[in-house]
């Protein structure tokens, strides 16, 4: 229970004007704490992709962040439709984003691959009809 900081964010459903706010807010907190800019960038990218997926593919959700001297852990939990085939969803280029979402610039199918690339540990658990939980860690 020593040097850890907990933060949590509510991600509202369907609200593109606010999507990215949790990631932006975490990014500025980390900057203020003096965390290395390369690490801040990794966290910001990984978390944004997860945050936006919660808005596009689920019905919003909750993000819990734990910052310790060793690592930054992000747990993103939603009660959306879940992912039937995680291996398929993880493939670069795979996307079920509808046209109206693609018109905004999403739907390249690179979000989950980015999350894996920019985190040092990545885990995704999902149950169809129940929801999805993504856990990512970035080492300090």
């Amino acid at each position: 229970m020593s040097n850890t900081i907990h933060m949590s964010y509510e991600v509202p459903a369907n609200d593109f004007t606010r999507a990215g706010e949790a990631s932006s807010s975490l990014k500025s907190s980390l900057k203020k704490m003096g965390v290395n800019p390369e690490i801040v960038r990794k966290v910001a990218i990984a978390m944004y992709e997860g945050e936006i997926n919660m808005v596009i593919h689920a019905t919003g959700g909750k993000i819990d962040v734990v910052i310790s001297p060793e690592e930054i852990e992000m747990v993103l939990k939603d009660q959306g439709p879940g992912i039937a085939d995680i291996e398929l969803a993880m493939q670069a280029g795979y996307s079920t984003a509808p046209d109206n979402i693609r018109n905004l610039g999403f739907g390249a199918g690179m979000g989950l691959p980015n999350m894996k690339k920019y985190s040092d540990e990545f885990n995704i658990e999902s149950t169809v009809g129940v929801g999805t939980t993504v856990t990512m860690k970035v080492k300090m």
């Binding site: 593109f16 990215g20 944004y48 999403f106 691959p113 980015n114 690339k117």
Partner: protein, 111 residues
Amino acid sequence: MKVLDLVQDGSFKVLNEGNNLEREIRAPYCCDLLSVAMGRMPADSAWVTVMGNINTLAVATLADAACIILAEGSHLDDPALNKAKQQEITVFETELPIFEAAFIVYQKLHA
């Protein structure tokens, strides 16, 4: 080349002047797919795109772009313009095609 140099130079219309004018631009970067840009855009890029919605600004901020150049005559929609002002992000507009806009930045960097 600093963001300020691009603001003063007049190649592109300045839509919003941000708070990072002293920042050095490293390279132009072109892409309209947000998660591709998010994953591959180098920090301190001048990001040339046609996507002018609020998500463009989020990606620019989170991936550490130096500025945004909206090409092909595309514009920021109102929520995006408000966000640019609020977050003090430098945004330019131009009628030029994406390649030509990026090439102008490239030439200035390599002059």
